[in-house]
Amino acid sequence: MGARRPTPYGEAVAERLATDLAHAGVAVVSGLAVGVDAAAHEGALIGEGCTIAVLGTGVDVIYPAANTDLAARIVARGGALVSQFPDGTGPKRDHFPRRNWTMAALADLVVVVEAAEGSGALITAEAGLAQGKAVMAVPGSVFSPLSVGCHQLLRDGAGLVQNARDVLGELNGLTAVLDDPLTPPDRLAVEGEAPRGRDGLLRHLSDAYPVEPGDLARRLGLAFPDVVARLTRLELEGKARRMGAGYLRVRGRGMT
């Protein structure tokens, strides 16, 4: 579970974890929302595993509509859309916390990837705890408001997730920990629409790991020279900087 508007870091972690867990034969349950949910489902599909989307609407209503294609692929690849609500039920505000409870119930273990203070993902984590499920969280940057919720969970005793092996160890009752860094996926889950405006590319950059212009070009369907020109423009404005062969988003700086 995690934020609907995650950082590229959160999106990358969700996709990578889901891919690796799916490879290991773990079914990935999430809520078919945009952001971390969609990345987790996409990751599981990349890992050629089973993924289950728990809807807050009727199973015949895909919300948000942007995930219609994703929902179709989940079903086509042997996954499932499940819902506790009758067919034809549209999105309703009070249905989603109830859906979150169901999601926790279906899972053996809850991983929170990115969650702001008091967000819906934390409700699911609490539901998991109430049902006696293990809860784990992915740490983030201390500068990032989207990691505050995860850090709260960690302080309260949630398991630390650095990679899929941490999750597998918890599931299988193992205690050995291997502190390998996670390699970022070379292709993020959400096929971004072509960025508009001067800062359009910025939301595809992370402040946590460098993104290479070639990967950005492929992901966004842009020409490579165009991406380099846009990135240099961001660099000139102090919004991005180079690291190795890629670019990082510069946090907390406005126009120079």
Binding site: Y209, A217, D226, R242, G244, G246
Partner: protein, 511 residues
């Protein structure tokens, strides 16, 4: 008929090389009464003085008369030109034989070749250069070793006689058995679509380096690749000759002259159309790199890379003095080497591709492995790079290691032939517009051929201000932007062209 000096019995022409210039040498042979002996005069070095013994045996063994009971004097003129090498042997042998037989000397005919003791004529280096020099001196016929005939014929406008032995040369001169002049076909350039030895299609990922290579090939720009060991920098560099159009006839001839002096031409196929790729090791000596050596200066790696690519791997490991010496040829397209015996000039119009690790251990800035160097050593390493040489490199890109999971699964990249088609079109555009590639544009020409609109200029100025770009660096980015625009539309240089060009500059940060 040349005027006959009193006492001189025979006068035969040959040629000596000084760099890529052929100097006419006249061998004068006098047979007179007096103390019996064989004197060779005219500033002959050791290898030429040994010619006496070779020539004497060769004449005897060819069944020709040798004036052993007379006073024999051979003079090599002009006397102030130091003579070395064995290339004069044939001319000396012919001169002595003509004098001994009392035959007239052939007019405007020159002889090149080393004599074996049995009279056979052996290969000598530099025949092409000599032939071109002789033509300038009005010589119309040239006897050369058989193996070197194709090379000599490249000079054009000269009757070339492939000459297997001294006796055959003499038979021709006496009119007994006439030799046929060499009649090989004129060289024809190779097909432009030949598939290169190292194809870009074999490179996986590396978008930045691919693009930088295309831009470098299109505008003739120098390129630096910056990345950890094993990232494929050498492989990328090796694809550059295959992205360039094949050599033109004039270029191939210039390169063949350098190779001719070095004795590096393939017998029977003296012209190569593929652009050279030279990759000297960082332990290369100054003489090995720019040319030199004891005695006559021979061409170095930079001249062997003429009209091609000079690749310097591990740039930071080269001695500072060695890199310093590259500056003159990089600016001027040739190298002047001065020796006690005079200066020689060799062409050295190469495209530089350099590669370097970011730090002594190689892993600084890598996303997967941590660097083990101290900050001070990284800084010292990068300082050696940021010298004046780097200021002459237009394009700088980071080459990252391709992740293992990408290797072997990514679709095959675009082939060299496809990239070359765009490169050739962009180069033609530049030649038609300004008669030179963009890398050769000076500041006033840039203003004329690559004017920047207000937004493009302000972006470039802003970058220059932020990064402390030197005036030279400013113009380099401008030139690259011109090339990018040529690859794009061929029209005016726009802001996004400048922006992309600045994306291929790194060094300001290290400096």
């Amino acid at each position: 008929m040349l005027p006959r000096l009193p006492g001189v019995v025979a006068r035969v022409l040959s040629c000596l090389l000084r760099g890529l210039e052929g100097h006419l040498v006249e061998i004068q042979v006098d047979i007179s009464s007096g103390p019996v002996g064989f004197a060779l005069v005219g500033l002959a070095s050791g290898s030429v003085r040994e010619a006496k013994e070779r020539v004497r045996s060769a004449i005897h063994n060819s069944g020709l008369p040798f004036p052993s009971q007379r006073k024999l004097t051979v003079n090599l003129a002009p006397a102030e030109l130091r003579k070395d090498g064995a290339g004069l042997d044939l001319a000396i042998g012919v001169g002595i034989s003509l004098a001994a037989l009392g035959l007239p000397s052939p007019r405007s005919t020159a002889f090149l070749g080393e004599l074996a003791l049995d009279g056979a004529v052996r290969h000598v280096d530099g025949v092409l250069v000599a032939a071109r020099g002789l033509i300038r001196h009005g010589v119309g016929a040239l006897f050369v070793p058989e193996a070197d005939a194709a090379e000599a014929a490249l000079a054009g406008g000269l009757r070339v006689y492939p000459c297997p032995s001294l006796s055959i040369a003499m038979a021709h001169l006496t009119g007994d058995t006439l030799l046929d002049p060499y009649s090989g076909r004129a060289p024809t350039p190779a097909a432009a679509d030949a598939s290169p030895e190292h194809d870009l299609a074999e490179v996986q990922g590396q978008d930045s380096a691919r693009r930088a290579l295309e831009v470098a090939a299109s505008g003739g720009h120098n390129l630096l690749m910056y990345g950890p060991p094993g990232a494929g920098k050498t492989m990328l560099a090796r694809t550059l000759p295959g992205l360039l159009p094949p050599l033109e006839l004039q270029e191939a001839l210039e390169l063949a002259q350098v190779r001719s002096v070095l004795g590096d031409l393939t017998a029977g196929r003296p012209l190569e159309w593929v652009r050279p790729f030279r990759a000297p090791h960082h332990s290369v000596s100054l003489a090995g790199l720019i040319g030199g050596g004891s005695g006559l200066a021979t061409p170095g790696e930079i001249s062997r890379a003429h009209h091609g690519v000079l690749f310097l791997d591990e740039l930071a490991e080269f001695r500072a003095a060695t890199l310093q010496a590259l500056r003159q040829p990089m600016e001027q397209g040739h190298i002047v080497i001065t020796r006690r015996s005079g200066s020689v000039v060799y062409p050295a119009r190469f495209q530089l591709v350099a590669a370097t690790n970011p730090c002594p251990c190689g892993w600084e800035g890598d996303s997967q492995r941590s660097c083990r160097c101290t900050p001070a050593s990284v800084e010292a390493y990068q300082r050696t790079l940021s010298g004046p040489l780097l200021d002459r490199i237009d394009l700088q890109v980071v080459v990252a290691r391709t992740p293992m999971d990408v290797l072997g699964r990514e679709a095959v990249g675009e082939s060299s032939a496809a990239v070359r088609a765009r490169v050739v079109a962009a180069r033609q555009l530049q030649i038609d517009r300004q008669s030179t590639l963009n890398a050769g544009l000076r500041a006033p020409q840039l203003r004329r051929w690559a004017p920047l609109d207000a937004t493009a200029l302000s972006a470039l100025r802003r970058w220059a201000g932020q990064r402390g770009l030197s005036a030279r660096g400013f113009h380099r980015a401008w030139r690259v932007a011109r090339t990018i625009a040529d690859l794009d539309t061929g029209g005016p240089v726009r802001e996004h062209h400048v922006m992309e060009a600045l994306g291929y500059r790194l060094v300001e940060r290290a400096a």
